[in-house]
Symmetry: C2
Subunit: 452 residues, 2 copies
């Protein structure tokens, strides 16, 4: 019997997060205040975030301690298992070895609690008793609800109205963990009331839900706002994923040639790849990190590296990143978590400097990969995660072509138990490749000229 | 940091199932042919089951080898983790230690694949290429679909029509693994056509779905039928759960005083408790095994120990078991897997002989326990599983009352990711205790006189 699972003992759970800002050949450009266009300082962020997270946002310390209280909650599901995908390898007939990190074992079903727990902890420690956030499909909202539950904090989630009604299961799960979930637009905020005045039947949007959550938090001393991706401290917290992988590979005397993750805002890709990039930068390890995105929202592969707003409304600081333009409206694909116009500034800078690679795939191939995975390894992946699987399969097939016995690692960032409608559509032949027209992308990017 | 997870290395996965028939003080009574009322022999079962499973059904061998091919698939998720529920203990303020076995980590989300994989394997080995079965909420159908996928077998699932429409996610999951799922009643069988002739709008029932699945298999040499609970070979395959627990407790030098499982047809309770009953019978270990059922369907606590049909229609052999009468129609509770009028004959005989205990709880208390668990340990349990949690909490509170530091083990038989409607109802205050009136139970049991 082959050993499939590489289990890191609980006592070996990493005690520090890795901060890639210590090792980047070129530091990322600073965020700019949306009004003055001057570098944004801690004071600009203080109304929304606790000082500990603001410090992490700009820190150049290489290793940052994971607080004991956070480790205690991590240990409910961490270290997560690393799997050797023997069945998938066999189905592909590849000489490559394929490993995947199973982040779907968290109670919320994805990697998102790695940062949600840390964010809740630091807020609570600074006397904040309530967090607001937005959620689309609900992965992030569930994770923050879980985290707030553990620190006895209130959690208010503005859920895009169309998702609130289409994905009632994720809403229920947030409520099980004690969160208050509102269909956005609401009449609780001025942004919401304005939107409802304009259109009482508004289905909402992620941009609007962000505005509501930020507005709710900005004016109150006991309330902060939490973001599930893009920012540096989020990337930092997710590095626990890759750090565990490195220890797990040591147990079997292996090291990957490729590290692959799907890429929306960048957090799960950063989480699995940054610790390996540490080895690449500091120890000359020839590891290749590949971010995989949908052809429908090809930020790294077709976007511009420039300053842009993080949100649609233009409330956030300007971030230097790969972007399709904040007015870019990606077509409706099932991988909702990858429908983001921008990209983490850290991931963006690393891509600009050639330290990571990016690939984009169409939805048909992505779902075909998901089905292959579910029928070989058993686990049903989230549609976002299926992009990483597609990437891993493509690399494994390239290895087959070349006769190379490479080692591939990908991040199984979440399960698809709440995404079965997407599989229904695929099995019914309703999922087609959607590629965004290049001239539309060019137009959207050109419009950014005006904000500089 | 406390160590929460007790992980058994993959190489220590049990190599044999435990057959409690070798050790029972009183053997179970034989099943009777429904027509002749004489003991049913292998020939009576041969049209539906492969000989290997029929042999397991009557074997008195204590240890039965788990085939290498079955172990290989088990190893995708087994050994499953044993957890110390520190957070739950703290919330209850109990001196008792609470452990739970996490069977929700299987790809199908419950313990059911433990037997589905074995059944598919033995059928395939005897040249059967297609299995039929029925499913209500879909837990069992998903597990058999997964298993057939691994052995390249066709899988046809008759899903009760009302569930087919109400639980589309589980239907989708079966289809992801390649099963054909039909809303029963269908026009594929005579039983189905008869039902549709009588009522074209029939919502179906589990009894009818069984009739369709059995009829489909009975006439075809390449097709067999598979059952997910009740029968002896099903209990046998599930003992891998308890056998792993024993090894995991050895790793931490512990042994439980209580072993608790929810009880419908009996398979997850048998799976976790039978290996401990081996120790109780042969080594005088004072372990107490407790089966927990709903007050709405109180088979062990209020049923009669007598011969009855396994199904509603009266097609199956007569089984000597605790039963509420095969015409007993339990009220509609969310724990669909516990709405069964009878009980595994093995579990029943052990209860008759005082080797196990049973408790029944109402739905409100059960869901309160589920919420307490989700908010402490994080994991969302299935409504069936929540009965075991309620039992464990009650015992832990008794220990608190008595000041006893006992060790409690329960089976977390499955997750509730597809059961969030039930939680919605609970949070909306719509779940009420339903106790079946004793005189109705008496009447239903009295009606069994006629079949003897």
């Amino acid at each position: 019997m082959k050993e499939r699972k590489i289990i890191l003992p609980e006592k070996d759970l990493p005690r520090k997060w890795y901060n890639i800002q210590a090792d980047m050949p070129n530091p990322m450009q600073p965020p700019l205040h949306p009004g003055t266009k001057q570098p944004a300082g801690p004071d600009d962020l203080a109304p929304l975030f606790p000082m500990a997270l603001i410090e992490q946002e700009v820190s150049r310390e290489r290793w940052i301690d994971i607080p004991e209280e956070v480790l205690d909650i991590y240990s409910l599901w961490r270290p997560s298992p690393l799997y050797r995908a023997y069945n998938l390898e066999k189905a592909l007939g590849t000489p490559a070895k394929i490993y995947y990190k199973q982040e779907g074992v968290s109670p919320a079903g994805s990697h998102k609690p790695n940062t949600a727990v840390a964010q809740a902890y630091y807020n609570k420690k600074e006397g904040v008793n309530k967090l607001t956030t937005e959620t689309g499909a609900g992965q992030w909202g569930c994770s923050l609800a879980l985290a707030c539950n553990y620190f006895d904090m209130e959690c208010r989630v503005y859920m895009v109205k169309v998702s609130y009604h289409q994905k009632p299961y994720r809403r229920s799960l947030m409520e099980v963990w004690g969160a208050d979930v509102y269909a956005s637009p609401t009449d609780l905020t001025q942004s919401g009331r304005d939107a409802l005045a304009e259109n009482p039947d508004s289905n909402g949007s992620l941009g609007l839900a962000i505005s509501e959550a930020v507005e709710d938090a900005a004016g109150k001393s006991d309330t902060n706002y939490a973001l599930g991706s893009v920012l540096n401290h989020v990337m930092l917290h997710q590095t626990v994923i890759g750090l565990e992988c490195i220890e797990q590979f040591k147990l079997i005397n292996e090291y990957p040639d490729y590290v692959i993750g799907c890429c929306g805002g960048g957090s799960n890709f950063a989480g699995i790849s940054f610790p390996f990039l540490h080895d690449k930068i500091r120890k000359d390890k020839p590891v290749r990190a590949i971010g995989v995105e949908p052809l429908a929202c090809p930020t790294l592969t077709k976007g511009a590296f420039t300053y842009d707003f993080g949100d649609v409304a233009g409330f956030t600081p300007l971030l230097m990143m790969y972007t399709l333009g904040h007015n870019f409206m990606p077509p409706g694909i099932h991988a909702g978590g990858l429908r983001y116009h921008g990209e983490s500034p850290l991931v963006s800078q690393l891509h600009k400097d050639g330290l990571i690679e990016a690939r984009a795939y169409g939805q048909e191939g992505v779902f075909e990969a998901a089905l292959t995975f579910a029928r070989t390894e058993g686990i049903l992946p989230a549609p976002e995660t299926a992009h990483a699987i597609k990437g891993a399969i493509e690399v494994a097939l390239e290895c087959k072509e070349a006769g190379e016995e490479k080692t591939i690692l990908f991040n199984l960032s979440g399960h698809g138990h709440f995404d079965l409608t997407a599989y229904d559509d695929y099995l019914a032949g309703k999922i087609r490749d959607v590629e965004y027209p290049q001239d539309e992308i060019d137009k959207s990017i050109a419009s950014l000229e005006s904000i500089r």
